[in-house]
Structure formats: structure tokens, C-alpha cells
């Protein structure tokens, strides 16, 4: 297109000359992008967790309270006899207690050390995960096994998936609302620029500028707003993600977050595409009205 460089320059000028409104749109768009990104990253991590849980063939079997350690070992022998059980490793309540104390801190546990509330348990490894349900049912029949508290990892995985789905639904709602708000604000920002440049628009139209030519600087304006928002949002999300990641990984060692550097390129590209698209639509929506008008109508005379 002829004069493209000029039009892009005009777009930058628009953003700058209307900077207060531009900043407002950028802020709203950033929050929209960060929330969208956070929701997406959350569900990515949950999927990863669910996958890891599903692949793990370890199941914890708790021994009923009141069984001594010796009795517990016998229960363990019974467990090992069940088909499909590869091994049953004893995990004493003292070991469990130490583990909790390490991850959660001393202050709470030192006071209850003499009355350890945790049960003894076995870490059961199975040969074939597809027979998981029936194996667990057999173990449950063994005397001394706490039937109700076998940590069924499938249940756990299902629960996680349900939470993740719920989060996805809520975030889709929030993001949709924010998207509409950001579209509205960008459209208004550009409308304000357009209003301040209506005189130039009327002259352009009178000398025979095509609609696409008149439109271009405003589309560029929208896209610049979108791009700036995308860049800042990528940074903000990186900080939030790493912050949350550190807190979670300090609290428990079971699960590690997907490193942000793995996600960064995707996040950046998705944000850029999304931001530019929203900006473009905002510009497109707001100029439509002006393009239908002629001469003095534009100026409101």
C-alpha cells in the first residue's frame, strides 16, 4: 500500500497525542491478558499434575490406628500376597511425621511430637495400573487396613481435574467480561482520537482519501495499544508465575511447576496476537461511524 509508512507514523502519533486514554486502555488490556494467561497457566499445570499422578503407580495404604508396628508389618506381608502388588514398603508414622515437619516447619510439630497423630502406612507399588481398582478392593479386605483412607490417586486426579475445569469456566467468564470491557475502552480511546482529528478526517475525505486510508492510522493506534499491553502483560505474568511457583514449591515437594522459560515464547506470541486483534477490532468498530459521514457531518456543523 502506498504511503504505508506515513500511516503507521500517524498511528503512533495518535497513541501519543491521546496518551491518558491510551494508558487507561493499556492497563485494562493488561489485566485482561494477565488474567487470561494466569488461568491458562493454572490449567496447564493442573493437567501436568494430573498426568503425573495418573502415571504414578504408588498408592499409600494406611494401617488402622491401634495396630502396633509389628502387627503392621504382618499386614504388610498380607498386602504383598495380593496379585498385582509388586512391593509394599513400610512407611512408619515417625518417618511420616519427620517428613511433615520438614516441609511445614518445626513450630507446630514440636508441641505434638509425643502424641503423633499419623498412622503407619505402606507405599504399595502395582505391576499393572489398569487393574488398579480391583487391586485396591482386595487390599481393602485385608484386616488391619484402614479401608476408607486408602489414598486413591484416581479420585485425587479426578478432583484436581474438576477444580481445574471449574477454574477454566470461571476464568472464561471473567476473561470474556474483561475482553468486552477492553474492547469498549479501546474503541472509546480511538473514538476520542478520532474526534480530536475529525477536522483532518473531513479534509482527507474531501480530497478523495479512500476509507481504508482514513481508517489505517486508527487501526494502527489500536494495534499499538494491543502490542504494548501484550509486552507488559508478558512481564507481569512472569513475575506473578514465578512468585506463586516459589511459594508452592516451598510448601510441598511433590509437584514442580512447569518452568516459565518453557512457556514464555507461547505466552508472548499468544498475548501479542490477542492484544493486536483486540486493538484492531476496537479501531475498526469506532471508525465505522465516521466513515459513513460526509463533509460537515464529520465536523458536526
Amino acid at each position: 500500500m502506498k504511503g504505508f509508512g506515513y500511516l503507521v507514523k500517524e498511528g503512533f502519533k495518535n497513541v501519543w497525542s491521546n496518551r491518558i486514554m491510551s494508558i487507561a486502555s493499556i492497563c485494562v488490556l493488561i489485566s485482561c491478558l494477565v488474567l487470561t494467561g494466569a488461568a491458562a497457566l493454572f490449567s496447564l499445570n493442573v493437567s501436568k499434575l494430573v498426568e503425573e499422578v495418573g502415571e504414578s503407580n504408588e498408592t499409600i495404604v494406611y494401617i488402622q490406628p491401634g495396630y502396633s508396628q509389628l502387627e503392621a508389618v504382618y499386614v504388610g506381608k498380607e498386602i504383598e500376597k495380593v496379585d498385582n502388588v509388586a512391593s509394599a514398603k513400610f512407611y512408619s508414622k515417625e518417618e511420616a511425621f519427620e517428613q511433615y515437619r520438614k516441609t511445614l516447619g518445626d513450630s507446630l510439630f514440636s508441641r505434638i511430637e509425643d502424641r503423633n497423630p499419623l498412622p503407619d502406612s505402606f507405599i504399595v507399588v502395582m505391576h499393572d495400573l489398569s487393574k488398579y481398582e480391583e487391586t485396591v478392593a482386595k487390599i481393602q479386605q485385608i484386616e488391619g487396613v484402614d479401608k476408607d483412607s486408602i489414598l486413591n490417586r484416581k479420585d485425587f486426579a479426578d478432583k484436581l481435574t474438576r477444580i481445574s475445569n471449574l477454574v477454566t469456566i470461571i476464568s472464561i467468564g471473567v476473561v470474556a467480561a474483561l475482553l468486552i470491557i477492553s474492547l469498549f475502552i479501546i474503541a472509546n480511546t480511538i473514538r476520542a482520537t478520532m474526534y480530536s482529528r475529525r477536522f483532518e478526517i473531513s479534509i482527507m475525505k474531501s480530497v478523495g482519501a479512500t476509507n481504508s486510508f482514513v481508517r489505517m492510522p486508527f487501526l494502527v493506534e489500536g494495534m499499538i495499544i494491543g502490542l504494548i499491553s501484550a509486552i507488559i502483560a508478558t512481564g507481569v505474568l512472569a513475575l506473578v508465575y514465578q512468585g506463586v511457583g516459589m511459594v508452592v514449591e516451598n510448601a510441598q515437594s511433590l509437584f514442580s511447576f512447569i518452568p516459565y522459560t518453557d512457556l514464555l515464547p507461547y505466552v508472548a506470541v499468544a498475548f501479542a496476537v490477542f492484544g493486536v486483534f483486540v486493538g484492531f477490532c476496537g479501531g475498526f468498530l469506532s471508525i465505522r461511524k465516521y466513515l459513513k459521514m460526509e463533509g460537515n457531518e464529520i465536523l458536526g456543523w
Binding site: 480530497v207 478523495g208 479512500t210
Partner: protein, 283 residues
């Protein structure tokens, strides 16, 4: 070049702005369009620019029927015309150069062409040394010349000047029309809408008078001297108009072709000089 065939325009609010107007303006003509405010002059210009469409009748510009013009082609129609506004419509924050260049940028001209063409046109209107000034640093007459340069810069076939002297000191009005005359002599068709009869009389050119939406007289060169006050508002203005209407009675095919046979400039009757009263003066 510009052709009106029984054009009427009624606005949605019921105002009858133009009523059954038929006329033809040929390539290279210089035409004054006179009439009081509200007579229909602005509507006439808006119709030519295709800012408004006629309620009935047909407008033909360069052989193209405007009723057949597609929306996306309207900008290209306007590139054949340069518009000069009464209020100049210059962009205050831009220099004189940029104001003129703006019209070229708006049609996508490249920078090299703009850098060559703008100084040339500004030289033409005598403002080459004011290129870097802002419009506010110029006199009214100079601002109007910038506006004229902007209208000229894309090399249009028609210049349409809407009250070009309306905001200019009377002594400078003459200068503006003189400039338009010069431009006309280079082959550009010039349409000047005005209500300044003194000016119109000074320049011996074709004059189309509009009143209450009707063309009440269309005097070709040498002919214009106004019209009798007694006749004003009368329905009987056919005397000066009927002859023209005969020429208008052509088929479409004839219209878009060569007009060389229809030189009606010379066979208009001479009107006696006398006291003339224009619609404005009566108001």
C-alpha cells in the same frame, strides 16, 4: 464535464433545496454560482462532491452517472476535484507545506513526489517563502491561497471554491479570483460559489444564479449583469434560461461525448447594463 439533468433535492426534514435543475458545465469553463444563503448553492456543491445524492434526476461528471457510482469509488471521483472552503479549513498545528502535502498524503502519494510538487504549487499561489509558517501567522488572503494550493496540488480537473472570498479582506478578494482565473486559463474548470456581485461583475464569466432551489438565470460570458429586481421571485425567468434548456435536451449518448458543436457561449443575448439587485441585497 459536469451535467445536471432535472435534479431535485429534498432533505429528509422536508426542505426543498433544489428543484428540477438542469445545466451543463464544460471542461475549461469558469463559472460563478450566485445566490442568497439558503438558495441551494451548498446543496449544489454537495451534490457535485457526492456528499449528498439527488432525490430525483441525474448528475453526470466526466461521463459517469453518479447514481451508478459505487460507494468505494466516491474517493476517486473526488480526486478529480479540488475544494476550496470559505473558512480555509487549514490544520493549525501543521505548517503551510504540511497542509498542502496533507492532501497528497491522503491519496497515498510518495514522499519524493510530495517534496517536488508542494513547493511548485505554493510558488504558483505566491507563497513559496511562507512554506514553514503556520496558518495562524498568515493573513486571511494568504490562508485562502494555501487552501487553494491544497486544492490544486493533486492536479484536479475541477476546482470548486465555496465562497472563497467570504473570509478575506475585500481588497484581497479580487486577488483570489484573479488567481482562480489564472488556474482556469491553464485548463482547469473552475466553479466559484459566491454572493459578492461586485466581484462577479468584474470578471466577465458565466454566471449561474440560484434562488429558492431554481436556476433563475444562466448567463454566459459578456452576458452577466444581474437580473431585474422586478423579476426576482417571479416564475417568469424562462427568458434567459429557455435557450439553455434546448441544449440540455440531449440523449445520454450525446452527453458523454464531444461537445464541440454546442458552443453556446456566443449566442447568448446581451443584457443592458443597469441597476441590478441580487437576492442577497433584498434580504
Amino acid at each position: 464535464m459536469i451535467e445536471f439533468q432535472n435534479v431535485s433535492k429534498t432533505y429528509p426534514n422536508g426542505t426543498h433545496a433544489l428543484h428540477d435543475v438542469s445545466l451543463r458545465i464544460d471542461k475549461g469553463e469558469f463559472v460563478f454560482i450566485v445566490g442568497a444563503s439558503g438558495a441551494g448553492k451548498s446543496t449544489f456543491l454537495k451534490l457535485i462532491m457526492h456528499e449528498e445524492t439527488p432525490t430525483s434526476g441525474e448528475i453526470i461528471i466526466n461521463g459517469n452517472k453518479l447514481s451508478k457510482l459505487k460507494r468505494r469509488d466516491v474517493p476517486y471521483l473526488r480526486r478529480h476535484m479540488g475544494i476550496v472552503f470559505q473558512d480555509f479549513r487549514l490544520i493549525e498545528k501543521m505548517t503551510v507545506f504540511d497542509n498542502v502535502a496533507f492532501a497528497m498524503r491522503a491519496v497515498g502519494e510518495n514522499t519524493a513526489t510530495i517534496k517536488k510538487r508542494v513547493p511548485y504549487v505554493l510558488d504558483l499561489v505566491g507563497l513559496k517563502d511562507k512554506m514553514k509558517n503556520k496558518p495562524s501567522e498568515l493573513s486571511g488572503g494568504e490562508q485562502q491561497r494555501v487552501s487553494l494550493a491544497r486544492a490544486l496540488v493533486n492536479n484536479p480537473e475541477i476546482i470548486v471554491a465555496d465562497e472563497p472570498t467570504g473570509n478575506v479582506d475585500p481588497e484581497l478578494s479580487h486577488e483570489i479570483i484573479e488567481l482562480l482565473n489564472e488556474i482556469n486559463s491553464m485548463g482547469t474548470t473552475v466553479l466559484v460559489v459566491t454572493h459578492e456581485h461586485e466581484l462577479v461583475r468584474e470578471f466577465n464569466q458565466r454566471v449561474i444564479a440560484i434562488d429558492k432551489g431554481h436556476v433563475i438565470s444562466d448567463n454566459h460570458r459578456r452576458g452577466y449583469s444581474g437580473y431585474e429586481s422586478e423579476n426576482f421571485g417571479d416564475e417568469d425567468y424562462s427568458l434567459s434560461y429557455s435557450e439553455y434548456e434546448e441544449d440540455m435536451d440531449l440523449t445520454d449518448d450525446e452527453l458523454t461525448d464531444d461537445y464541440s458543436g454546442y458552443a453556446y457561449d456566443d449566442d447568448e443575448p446581451d443584457y443592458p447594463d443597469g441597476v441590478v439587485v441580487m437576492p442577497d441585497d433584498q434580504a
